[in-house]
């Protein structure tokens, strides 16, 4: 009987546009679209910033130190045109109305500063909302400072190595996989937790509140099928939808990474491919299944309680935030899977997946996370069972 109900509910759900959108379409197309847009925009933006000719204001004359140095820089750091100003006030007016993009002002007399071997104070004015300009100014100043430093050391007759007492090298012993897991691995559980929840949401509302609202539940309850069988048949579809949505979102993400040039390099792509082993996928689903059952278990009592589709949506929407917060924990650096975090539902799945990607998994903690998730899933199912058994909840 459970399977008969499951089959019918699945057929019914697959013909519902909202469920199809949340279960298949959005999870599959969201990441390819999102990644394409981000890559396109950032590529164009960075190209534009790098190649864009900017106007630079300099207070002083064309004989001043900063003017000469800026003019001598080649166009590798970007095209530029220098404009001379008599005072900072007029230069700042032009900077504000975007006639120029950077402004340089030298505070002290440069001839005296160089002669007396004192630092030459330079202020670089920039508009922080103009993306990439401060980086351009820093690049100019880095080259000018390097040249000035070498000249001063030369005039002091000092070898550059003599004033460099330490040479520190930092070596990363973490594997690419580990690095990827720790830095980007938090994204994966975040994605499948969110999509797993959204995937469960619409079928749950449709199969419980919707059935009440449409007046079909009454006839279903007069059939010789036990209520728990009806509940389990419907719950099966909710869980399947959540798992499908999570899987589709991961597939969408994977194919986006494979097909869109992210500029990530071959090493990163090889790392991603090496992560996707059979063991990884099996362990991922081991965590994903109780998580989705837990989601179904908390959504179903709400959808049974709600009298209308609208009411159910208005209760569940804030619940999204409650789910997002523990999912975001995995994105926070420094929080690891420990005995304590393994006992916190959702957080444990997020952190275990992060470790799973990094390959730094402690199987004992994964087992604990799994047991905790199964326990909360059972509790959530029991709550659903109790709520579905209540006459006043099932019938409007």
């Amino acid at each position: 009987m459970i399977f008969t109900i499951f089959k019918k509910e699945l057929k019914d759900s697959l013909r519902d546009r909202r469920t199809l959108m949340s279960m298949l379409v959005i999870p599959i197309i969201l990441f390819p679209i999102l990644i394409n847009i981000v890559v396109f925009v950032s590529k164009n933006l960075s190209e534009d910033i790098a190649t864009r000719e900017i106007k630079i204001g300099v207070v002083g004359t064309d004989k001043s130190f900063i003017y000469t140095e800026l003019s001598s820089l080649n166009e590798q750091v970007g095209k530029k045109k220098l404009v001379i100003y008599k005072d900072t006030a007029s230069m700042l007016v032009d900077l504000k109305n975007d006639s120029i993009q950077l402004g340089f002002f030298t505070h002290n007399n440069e001839a005296i500063a160089f002669k007396e071997m004192k630092p030459l104070a330079i202020t670089v004015y920039h508009n922080g909302s103009d993306v990439g300009m401060v980086e351009r100014a820093e690049a100019y100043m880095k080259l000018i400072e390097q040249k000035a430093n070498l000249n001063r050391l030369k005039s002091l007759n000092i070898n550059a190595e003599q004033v460099t007492p330490l040479k520190t090298a930092y070596r990363n012993i973490a594997s690419d996989k580990e690095m990827f897991g720790k830095l980007a691995g938090g994204m994966l559980p975040y994605i499948f937790i969110i999509f797993g929840f959204i995937g469960c949401m619409y079928p749950a509302i449709d199969l419980f509140t919707g059935e009440k609202e449409r007046g079909t539940i009454e006839t279903l309850l007069t059939t010789p099928v036990a209520r728990w069988q009806i509940l389990f048949g419907k719950m099966g579809v909710v869980v399947l939808s959540g798992i499908t949505a999570a899987t589709c979102s991961l597939l969408g993400l994977y194919f986006s990474i494979q097909t869109v040039d992210l500029g990530a390099g071959v090493e990163v792509m090889d790392t991603i491919n090496s992560i996707l082993s059979f063991q990884f996928i099996a362990l991922l689903y081991l965590l994903l299944i109780p998580l989705t059952i837990f989601f179904a278990g908390i959504l179903i009592p709400i959808t049974i309680y709600a009298k209308t589709f609208k009411e159910a949506q208005s209760i569940i929407t804030p619940l999204n935030i409650v789910i997002i917060i523990p999912a975001m924990v995995a994105l926070t650096p420094g929080i690891e899977l420990t005995t304590i975090t393994a006992c916190i539902p959702i957080v444990n799945v997020a952190l275990a997946t992060k470790d799973l990607i990094a390959g730094t998994l402690d199987y004992g903690l994964v087992a604990l996370s799994f047991v905790v998730m199964v326990a909360v899933a059972i509790i959530a199912v029991l709550v659903s069972y109790k709520r579905f058994g209540r006459e006043d909840s099932v019938i409007n």
Partner: protein, 257 residues
């Protein structure tokens, strides 16, 4: 056969319900000690104004609700103790019955046939017979959402009868339907009676009651005010017509209270 003995139904009121009903009572009694019997081959009508307890009573008969007290026997099966067994004998249809709009009539009938445990051969035979009787062949594979109200009502009838129930429960089956569509229901009730099934239906439309029923019960504020044969009801009438008599009985009970 339906045998109802002294059934009560009490609902616990939530704080929100107490607020909505402007009451401080923590519970509400919808049905108070009702007893009656519906015999095979006869149509029993449960009459009462809105909120009288008709739907609650029929929901208890259909095992959707469990009585707080009392017993219900459906074809000699204790429906309170063995609801699943009793459900096999019951066909249930309401005026507000919804159907699965995204499925076709065929899919809905197959689904309910499976839920009632009707074997495939029997299901095919019954479908063929009911489709022909209700003229459903032309739209059996169209999505229900695209059907007219009349067509949907035929699907509901077919769904109700697919397991050939011994007892058929109709809760205001014609409410909201036009005269032509309502006629399908009237015909169905007559057919059920002719086939020797036990039929109980609730209504507040006296013309329907006059046309169909053999036995009548009047219910008001959860209590049974009258229960006898239709013939006896007609003979003992003090008002000039059935509607007036129904109103008179209701008013008389209010005066007594």
């Amino acid at each position: 056969m339906i045998k109802v003995d002294n059934i009560y139904k009490e609902f616990i009121l939530s704080k929100q319900q107490q607020k909505e009903l402007s009451t401080k009572d923590t519970s509400s009694i919808a049905v108070r000690g009702i007893s009656f019997e519906c015999k095979p081959g006869r149509v029993f009508s449960l009459l009462g104004p809105n909120g009288a307890g008709k739907t609650t009573t029929l929901r208890m008969l259909s095992t959707i609700f469990k009585p707080t007290q009392g017993s219900i026997f459906i074809s000699n099966i204790d429906a309170v103790k063995f609801p699943n067994e009793a459900r096999r004998k019951i066909g249930f249809l309401t005026g507000s019955t919804g159907l699965y709009n995204r499925l076709t009539p065929n899919e809905v009938i197959d689904y309910f046939g499976s839920l009632y445990g009707v074997n495939e051969k029997l299901l095919m035979e019954r479908k063929e017979k009911l489709y022909a009787l209700l003229n459903m062949n032309d739209f059996q594979n169209k999505r229900i959402g695209k059907l007219s109200t009349g067509m949907k009502q035929k699907v509901s009838i077919c769904r109700t009868m697919i397991h050939d129930p011994e007892v058929v429960v109709f809760d205001e089956p014609t409410s909201g339907l036009d005269v032509i569509t309502a006629e399908n229901i009237i015909d169905l009730i007559k057919d059920c009676k002719n086939q020797g099934k036990t039929v109980i239906f609730s209504s507040h439309i006296m013309s329907e009651v006059d046309l169909l029923c053999d036995d009548i019960a009047i219910i008001h504020k959860g209590s049974l005010l009258y229960n006898d044969t239709m013939e006896q009801f007609r003979n003992s009438m003090q008002a000039e017509n059935l509607t007036a008599e129904f109103i008179r009985i209701i008013h008389q009970s209010q005066v007594k209270q």
